[in-house]
Symmetry: C2
Subunit: 131 residues, 2 copies
């Protein structure tokens, strides 16, 4: 299940996408609109800033804004950033240690197909689609 970090991150990006493009939107404004704790949102924003999806600006009339068009940001990217992976099972996430049982595993094909479906769905969905 997608955690609040991933879910909130998407809502946050959509919220920013709805604002005037060049304006810096303060966190307190977003938090209030989205009904999410400001303190908790900070953690999420920090990651998004580090990954250069948004930029922050301190001081009066500071805030956050997107660094690129919402059309060019997929939901998959954001989810992978926040959740680490969207793989349905541990053995399909990147960096997973190879499973010695894999060759005999009766279920791996099913998980692989489902993983592909998932990546396809979220990889085609952009932030702009949700605005």
């Amino acid at each position: 299940m997608i955690s609040t970090k991933g879910r909130y991150a998407i809502r946050l990006m959509v919220d920013l996408a709805r604002q005037e493009r060049e304006r810096f939107t303060p966190l307190s404004e977003i938090a209030e609109r989205q009904c999410i704790s400001k303190l908790y949102l900070e953690i999420i924003l920090k990651k998004l800033v580090a990954a250069k999806y948004i930029v922050g600006k301190s001081g009066k009339s500071g805030g956050y804004k997107l660094t690129k068009e919402p059309e060019k940001i997929t939901v998959l990217e954001i989810l992978e950033l926040m959740e680490g992976t969207v793989a349905p099972v541990a053995c399909l996430s990147k960096g997973a240690k190879s499973c010695p049982f894999r060759k005999k595993c009766s279920t791996i094909a099913m998980w692989t197909e489902y993983d592909k479906m998932t990546r396809d769905y979220f990889g085609k969905k952009t932030i702009a689609d949700l605005v």
Copy 2:
């Protein structure tokens, strides 16, 4: 992400489906074949027995067997039994308290569609398909 409970349960069902239909297969045999701790598998089997997917028989030449044809058991059923839900987000799982933010939520439609895809995929996949 699907936990080991769900994943092991499916492998276990497939393993049983591969055995002679009326024979009781002892847990130790399954555990060895599937490389899963016998003690841990017990927890999983207990749930499957309680839900009447399999029956256990004590004593010598005892073990477990399926109660119905593998063609009639979907992966979705097993996953829901073991994981509680396959919903991608909390607000779509059954028994979730209604979200006051739902009407304004920019992402609920996406999650709902993905949830439908998921239920469709696993609802059509049966244990027999994995044998």
